[in-house]
């Protein structure tokens, strides 16, 4: 019954409460944005990485030999592969396109299946031992074999996300899929676990893997090696010398663990800055709410005195003021939720609806806690107003 009475009182004073309502609405939208980011990052972070980067080094080179003959070039790279593989500190070796995990390169394409276009799809051009280097887990089918070089349809492998989008829970192995223009059909031979190639906080997205054929060597400039435990700076130096002598040109060796840190920082640093800015805003809003409630109580001393006279105890006056603040917060949150719910409904930024829903719930909880905390002390002060004094102030 008190709730109805308070709602009526608040509704009749909606113009006076406009500032309070606006502050809560703006805070909710900011908090919703922060929690949307955090939920999005957390959901991605909690998913498995899908590969093992810790002992992987990337070697980027620029082949200075300028070998034009294709067969000679193939022999050259085959020998290089064997030389690297023969090194005792190296466990696995693979050639790769530029867009390997944690690199800053991307290559995407589109696929066609049953008249439906899937775009974008991250396209990875990979060597035969790419799976071994990264320890990528196969979910279905198989990895590339040498005979895949001569099949009628180009064989390729997709990740779980793309498989679910294309076939749901159905089987993908052996299915023919159209390329970007739907002119050439390619055959799915395997499904691998998703790999979070852009860092811990970003989704794997759709991905496809095609076999690096010998014609690709002319433009290739990246090798990935998986080293053994004993591989240290001395070995890195030897490897660098070997590669420089082989390529007759500049070479760069990077540890994937460092590349991962750099990639994650690109997400973490702006997020921390955003949270700090939002925190300052929330502190200001909290002080504002506190001030507005305090001011309202001082303006309503006679009403509080009257309520005490006609039967309200100190604690019920305090409770009333906290409830009023919570009702006002609810009114603002209803407007805020109307705007916020548009994000999952319209699939804004192509982010899963669950991210927005969780962020909305967290924001609602946060705002209620904020308003509750800000109204607690003014409510307590109101309870302490002496009715006899308050009723004689006018």
């Amino acid at each position: 019954m008190m709730f109805r009475h308070l709602f009526k009182l608040i509704w009749n004073k909606r113009k006076q409460n406009f500032l309070f309502l606006s502050e809560i609405l703006v805070s909710f939208m900011v908090i919703f944005a922060v929690f949307s980011f955090l939920t999005f990052y957390y959901q991605n972070y909690s998913k498995p990485l899908g590969f093992d980067y810790k002992k992987v080094w990337s070697i980027s080179y620029d082949n200075g030999l300028l070998t034009k003959n294709r067969d000679s070039l193939n022999i050259f790279y085959d020998n290089l592969y064997k030389s690297l593989k023969a090194m005792p500190q190296i466990e696995e070796v693979t050639y790769t396109g530029a867009n390997f995990p944690y690199s800053n390169s991307t290559m995407s394409t589109g696929l066609n299946s049953n008249g439906k276009k899937f775009n974008p799809v991250n396209s990875y051009v990979v060597g035969a031992d790419y799976q071994k280097v990264w320890n990528i887990k196969l979910v279905a089918g198989r990895w590339f074999l040498p005979e895949d070089a001569v099949t009628k349809n180009k064989n390729f492998i997709i990740n779980e996300t793309l498989k679910k989008q294309m076939f749901g829970e159905g089987d993908a192995i052996g299915k023919l899929i159209g390329d970007y223009d739907d002119k050439e059909k390619m055959k799915i031979i395997g499904v691998v676990q998703d790999i979070k190639a852009n860092g811990d906080f970003w989704p794997a997205g759709n991905a496809m893997f095609t076999r690096l054929d010998t014609g690709y060597f002319r433009n290739n400039s990246h090798i990935l090696v998986k080293v053994r435990d004993g591989a240290d700076a001395t070995f890195e130096s030897q490897l660098y010398k070997f590669m420089t002598n082989t390529m007759k040109n500049s070479v760069e060796i990077q540890h994937l663990s460092e590349m991962r840190d750099a990639k994650n920082e690109v997400t973490i640093i702006p997020m921390v800055i955003f949270i700090i800015i939002a925190s300052f805003l929330i502190i200001n809003v909290a002080l504002g709410l506190f001030g507005v409630l305090w001011y309202n109580i001082n303006k309503r001393r006679s009403e509080i005195g009257l309520r005490r006279a006609i039967g309200a105890s100190g604690s019920s006056v305090s409770l009333q003021l906290v409830m009023e603040a919570m009702i006002l917060a609810t009114m603002s949150l209803m407007v805020g939720c109307f705007f916020a719910i548009q994000f999952p409904l319209l699939s804004v930024f192509n982010i899963p609806a669950s991210v927005y829903i969780v962020a909305m719930l967290l924001s609602i909880l946060f705002i209620y806690l904020l308003v509750f905390a800000c109204s607690l002390y003014p409510g307590k002060q109101a309870a302490g107003i002496h009715p006899a004094i308050a009723l004689h102030e006018e």
């Binding site: 019954m1 005195g305 006279a309 006609i310 039967g311 309200a312 019920s316 006899a388 006018e394």
Partner: protein
């Protein structure tokens, strides 16, 4: 109905000590209409606040309806005020953001009565003061006399045994003041409500059963 025994009230600040009420003894019978008069600052309102349990005496004992309320908690005092006492103030103390009916319903909000029951009782109370045609008005849309009648309706809606009125006609012209006084007299006569009224107006005071005069915190008549 109300028994005050050797009531003293002292207001203290860091530097000054003011004796507002100095040893007042007063017995008010059930159904009595008593007025309290005296110059400004003589302690009339303080005495009324003490009777209304809005203020505590520094010394002395107060009994209402044979109950010693000195040991009552804040919760119990609030319940007691709600059930036994009705208040009327010089400046009405209506909530301007609530309609007349809602203002009158206020004391019932602190009881376990349904919305329907509250509306019925508030409407009845407003009928008694002749304002049944102003239920949906806001206080700012009413005259001073009408506002005070709303305040009276609010005071009687819970059917209290005692009404404490602090200069109820103080802000009204004589015609409106008489109207309010008539309502209070009828209430006392017909409902048997005990009324204690603080006033500056001799004419109004002489309409009551008994007149108590205060001077410098002491009873002189």
């Amino acid at each position: 109905m109300i028994r005050l025994q050797n009531i003293k009230k002292v207001y203290r600040t860091d530097t000054v000590e003011t004796l507002a009420i100095n040893g007042i003894n007063l017995d008010i019978a059930k159904g009595e209409f008593l007025s309290i008069m005296g110059p400004s600052g003589c302690g009339k309102s303080t005495l009324l606040n003490i009777m209304g349990l809005l203020d505590e005496p520094s010394k002395g004992n107060i009994q209402i309806d044979s109950q010693d309320i000195s040991s009552y908690s804040d919760q119990k005092l609030a319940k007691f005020r709600n059930e036994k006492l009705g208040f009327i103030f010089q400046s009405y103390h209506l909530i301007n953001d609530l309609q007349v009916l809602d203002n009158v319903e206020l004391p019932l909000l602190y009881r376990n009565s349904s919305a329907k029951e509250r509306k019925r009782l508030a409407t009845e109370a407003l009928e008694k003061v002749g304002l049944s045609n102003r239920l949906k008005h806001f206080p700012t849309q009413l005259s001073g006399g009408q506002r005070q009648r709303v305040a009276i309706a609010r005071a009687i809606v819970g059917n209290p045994q005692i009404i404490l009125a602090d200069e109820p006609t103080g802000n009204l012209d004589s015609a409106m003041g008489n109207e309010i006084m008539d309502i209070l007299i009828n209430l006392n006569k017909n409902e048997g409500t005990t009324i204690v009224m603080v006033t500056h107006d001799e004419n109004m005071a002489h309409k009551t059963h008994r007149l108590v005069r205060l001077f410098d915190g002491s009873q002189v008549q």
